[in-house]
């Protein structure tokens, strides 16, 4: 995802001199070409995320579109108040980019698990996007340049397989139906869409269960209509996020459904429920450990359908 983001941003930056990319001293082997081809549009602010975000705001208020970049929680939680007071309150064109959502950096430990960022950032009046695959990353990068104000782009080390149609149009705030189905819906946020797709295919093949799969790449603003339709047209709704269930994507979906009076027959948020993870392991290992892998999702689907 990272390379898709950087190469798309490079293309955009060549065409639009207003674009500036600031890194918090991370991205070894990633930004060399960008820095070489757009030297006046690239900046390393050092290991200083609060300054990086305030700096980005100041530069953005002078007419630029500024991307700040770092990994895990460094460009988001470390400088949360700068995102809130400086960038967001001033409607500054600051696009905060984090690479390493969820357990992308599983083995690096708890400090590098981005598992609360969506809950926290979706409470701010900003655009929050967590793409699932490289196509969504490229489209989202392009769309965020055109979206005024402060945005958060959450990138993963893994990626879902491509699911877009050749002529498909990506829109911020509009989810994508990537598998049709009527028996139930799995709404996924981010690269863990891959797990939803695998589970849906397996359920279709082995049990004849027709699962609708939504890629909900934008958490704020949320595509309420598609979620309400899924709740009404299918038998149950599972949200899937590599993130805490507390106030996260599933929470956003639950809020929207309840307020619309669209109560699904069954509803479950699949995500992290144990607080912090101190177990060491790869992204796939940790997904499996917390029931966010194919087997875990299928078990939840079957339990849900059985209850109905």
């Amino acid at each position: 995802m990272r390379n898709a983001f950087v190469s798309e941003l490079l293309e955009l930056a060549i065409a639009d001199p207003r674009i500036l990319l600031i890194t918090g001293d991370l991205g070894f082997g990633v930004f060399e070409e960008f820095a070489r081809r757009c030297p006046r549009q690239f900046l390393n602010a050092g290991v200083a995320e609060q300054n990086m975000t305030g700096l980005a705001t100041g530069i953005a208020l002078e007419g630029r579109i500024v991307f700040t970049y770092s990994i895990a929680n460094f460009p988001s939680l470390r400088c949360l108040e700068q995102i809130r007071n400086d960038a967001a309150y001033h409607d500054a064109n600051v696009k905060v980019v984090s690479i390493g959502s969820g357990f992308s950096y599983g083995q690096l430990g708890m400090s590098h698990h981005a598992t609360e960022d969506v809950s926290i950032l979706r409470a701010l009046p900003i655009t929050v996007v967590s793409p699932a695959d490289e196509w969504e990353v490229r489209q989202a990068t392009r769309a965020l340049v055109a979206t005024p104000g402060t945005c958060y782009l959450r990138l993963d080390k893994s990626k879902a397989p491509p699911t877009h149609a050749a002529d498909e149009i990506f829109t911020i705030g509009r989810s994508r139906v990537v598998r049709q189905g009527t028996d139930l819906t799995i709404a996924a946020m981010g690269a863990i869409l891959e797990v939803a797709l695998e589970a849906a295919d397996d359920l279709a093949k082995s049990q004849g269960i027709r699962t609708r799969v939504l890629s909900v790449h934008t958490v704020r603003p949320l595509d309420i209509d598609a979620i309400v339709a899924a709740a009404r047209e299918t038998g149950g709704l599972i949200t899937l996020e590599e993130h805490t269930v507390d106030g996260g994507f599933g929470g956003a979906v639950a809020e929207a459904l309840l307020e619309r009076g669209a109560i699904p027959r069954a509803f479950l948020r699949v995500g992290l429920r144990v607080g912090f993870c101190s177990a060491v392991g790869s992204q796939n290992h940790l997904r499996a450990l917390y029931g966010m892998d194919k087997a875990g999702v299928i078990a939840n689907v079957l339990r849900m359908l059985q209850k109905q």
């Binding site: 900046l43 602010a45 609060q50 300054n51 208020l61 002078e62 700068q82």
Partner: protein
């Protein structure tokens, strides 16, 4: 209006505003009033007719709790009617206790949480540098605010990129929220810290308008960012508010208000 008269009006407005609304921080306004008056009367290239003029000098009050002083300076400089000051801290007003830009022409940036102004001002100075613009960026900080690490991140950055168009002014009254700076987190040797970080430091009596004018007006002589260390007296101009922690918080009412106003009214 000359800077002396402006300073006097800022102090009187701020006393009236904080007393009417029952807000804090009068001593913090009195401390910086001369710096702000010299900036608006003599230094900043700003135009009340065109508050967003692209070549204006940028001014950020990072010690946002002294917002009443900036509202007063802006009103007296013609950015909005002086009568609007009466709404300060009142229900439905645009003029919040900590300085906010929304609905207030001339406020460059909203602050209130400390340690935010200098990074943003550094960004504005960096953008001006990229665009080869000639305007300058001024950020006014409190001394206690220099406890915030974010400032030192910006201080490193501005020196590294030699942002000669950036001026950080420290309202160095040596008193912070709960006690003196020396008792709380000692900043001394304070000037040495800024110098060793690569800034051109100018010390000035923060109530001497001539000294402030030259310290604030002269462009960087070293090609490096400039720090004006303004030695000030917290509560300056009201004898019983000077050099006390109490008046960081207390609101002047009744007799206290009358006595303070009488002192500020003296020619």
């Amino acid at each position: 209006m000359d800077s002396r008269e402006l300073a006097k009006r800022i102090r009187k407005h701020a006393l009236r505003m904080t007393s009417r609304g029952g807000s804090s921080h009068i001593a913090a306004v009195l401390s910086m009033a001369d710096v702000v008056a010299v900036l608006y009367a003599n230094v900043l290239r700003v135009d009340p007719e065109r508050p967003r003029w692209s070549d204006r000098d940028r001014f950020i009050l990072s010690k946002g709790h002294a917002g009443a002083g900036i509202y007063a300076a802006l009103a007296e400089s013609g950015f909005f009617p002086v009568e609007k000051l009466d709404t300060h801290y009142q229900n439905g007003s645009d003029l919040s206790g900590h300085v906010s830009h929304k609905g207030v022409p001339g406020v460059e940036f909203s602050t209130g949480s400390l340690g935010h102004g200098l990074p943003v001002g550094t960004g504005m100075a960096y953008a001006a540098h990229l665009d080869s613009k000639q305007h300058r960026v001024f950020v006014l900080l409190s001394d206690g605010e220099c406890d915030e690490g974010s400032n030192w991140e910006a201080i490193l950055f501005a020196a590294h990129f030699k942002l000669r168009n950036l001026v950080a002014i420290v309202d160095y009254n040596k008193i912070q929220s709960l006690g003196t700076v020396a008792e709380t987190l000692a900043l001394e040797p304070f000037v040495d810290k800024w110098t060793s970080f690569g800034w051109e430091v100018r010390e000035a009596d923060g109530h001497d308008h001539g000294a402030l004018r030259s310290a604030l007006s002269a462009p960087s002589s070293s090609g490096r960012p400039v720090c004006v260390m303004a030695h000030t007296t917290k509560g300056k101009g009201v004898s019983f508010m000077e050099n006390t922690v109490l008046w960081h918080y207390r609101t002047a009412k009744g007799d206290e208000y009358d006595r303070a106003m009488t002192e500020l009214d003296r020619p």
